[in-house]
């Protein structure tokens, strides 16, 4: 609401009333209401004697600080009214209309809405320093920030930029998810498979296991979180006779989930079978790989002898990652 005169907090016009004693030629200090006369510029003072406005420098002077002096000798009960006009400086504030700059921190205890034609929130001033937004949670904080030295945008856990980074975007648009669950295992030795028997495939080498979700001791992948996972496996079977069937079986929670099968029409050929599956898993669901061969004899698997692998190693492998 507009107002004239005093605002609720700041005075712009102060009135002091003095009841004179006989012969006095000045007024100062506490007035009849206990208010103490003060002013910073004598030019912004009006002095009335019994309601008649006096003329500055002629009828009075303000040479002495906070004092109206040089009055003609007053009579008893003369009323001298001093009106002091003063301005309050609205220093170090930001205009609601024109905007401006806060040079210190600002706390807003309610929502912020950005309107206008192209609302833009800019964090940073092109300086060589990191910038970030911190989400201050009850149990866990997260941040989105610019790592200025690496020129990457990072999203991560905690309030400190660069710790527990879950995702980075670099200047070329390449996106990394360094903590995304992913594994790659292989077998450095062949494994025997009895004919007609669904046999669990074993691995002995973890080439990668981000988030440690692959249980190498028990040859199973354990989903760390509910989500979609892409898993792929490749198995190499030893030379088998014509008509020998081979199969790769994905087990989910101990039961067959997907099966791939191949029956040879060739004689004496090394077979392989691969499979890629997208699983919709619950947290802690377990995935295993089994294989089958029906040659009638015990055969080996994981033996790519003569295919650029003199040691016959690493021809059984399994990898996968969390899609989202």
């Amino acid at each position: 609401m507009p107002y004239i005169g005093k605002s609720p907090s700041f005075g712009v016009r102060n009135r002091f009333v003095y009841v004179a004693t006989s012969g006095a030629t000045s007024v100062s200090g506490a007035d009849a209401n206990g208010a103490t006369l003060t002013f910073t510029d004598g030019a912004f003072v009006d002095v009335y004697l019994n309601g008649v406005l006096l003329k500055p420098t002629t009828d009075y002077n303000t040479t002495t600080a906070n004092t109206i002096a040089g009055l003609s000798a007053l009579n008893t009960s003369d009323e001298v009214t001093v009106v002091v006009y003063d301005v309050f400086a609205v220093a170090d504030t930001v205009s609601a209309t024109s905007g401006g700059t806060f040079s210190g921190g600002v706390t807003v205890n309610a929502g912020i809405t950005m309107g206008g034609t192209t609302p833009t929130l800019t964090i940073g001033d092109a300086g060589a320093e990191d910038t970030k937004i911190v989400f201050d949670g009850n149990a866990q904080d997260y941040h989105i920030g610019l790592d200025d030295s690496a020129d990457t945008l990072n999203i991560g856990k905690g309030s400190a930029l660069g710790t527990t980074t879950a995702m980075t975007f670099d200047a070329n648009g390449l996106i990394l998810k360094p903590l995304q669950p992913m594994f790659d295992v292989s077998a450095t030795a062949s494994q025997s498979l009895s004919s007609g028997t669904i046999t669990k495939i074993t691995f002995d080498t973890e080439n990668a296991d981000i988030n440690s979700d692959f249980d190498l001791s028990n040859n199973k992948f354990i989903a760390p979180i509910a989500g979609k996972y892409l898993l792929q496996a490749y198995l190499t079977f030893s030379t088998m006779g014509a008509g020998s069937g081979i199969g790769l079986l994905w087990y989910k929670e101990g039961s067959i989930y997907r099966t791939g099968y191949h029956q040879s029409t060739e004689i004496n050929i090394t077979h392989s079978i691969s499979s890629t599956v997208i699983f919709n898993l619950a947290a802690l669901d377990e995935i295993e790989i089994y294989a089958f061969q029906g040659s009638g004899s015990t055969e080996t698997i994981g033996d790519a002898n003569g295919v650029g692998s003199p040691s016959a190693d690493n021809s059984n492998y399994w990898s996968g990652f969390l899609l989202g």
């Binding site: 498979l193 009895s194 004919s195 007609g196 028997t197 669904i198 046999t199 669990k200 074993t202 040859n219 006779g241 014509a242 004689i267 004496n268 089994y290 029906g294 040659s295 009638g296 004899s297 015990t298």
Partner: protein, 109 residues
């Protein structure tokens, strides 16, 4: 080498007038890393074999697996059936001689 569970089950089926080929969809043999075992058995009219029944096929199983290996060796040596037909067309006696030698070199038990 130990006899495969598959071989013993196959012989058990044959001893009871059934075949592995016909029943393999009703039987699941599995190995979770601690040896082969019968995970499920749904053969109509024939009970799942006991351990002692399976053990009784140890000797016959050795013979069966040895003969299977020989059959595979012979089959490989015989070669592609199309090539054999061409061989027969050109000189059937020479083909018979070659086949007999393969059989003689790889006798069954």
């Amino acid at each position: 080498m130990a006899i495969q569970l598959y071989t013993k089950v196959k012989l058990y089926l044959e001893a009871n007038s059934k075949t592995w080929e016909a029943e393999q969809g009703n039987i699941v043999l599995q190995n979770d890393g601690s040896g082969d075992y019968i995970k499920s058995w749904n053969v109509d009219g024939l009970d799942k074999p006991t351990d002692s029944q399976l053990a009784s096929y140890e000797t016959a199983g050795k013979t069966e697996e040895a003969n299977h290996k020989i059959r595979q060796t012979r089959k490989t040596a015989y070669g592609d059936i199309g090539e054999q037909l061409d061989e027969i067309y050109k000189d059937i006696d020479a083909w018979k001689t070659r086949i007999k030698k393969i059989k003689d070199d790889n006798p069954k038990d």
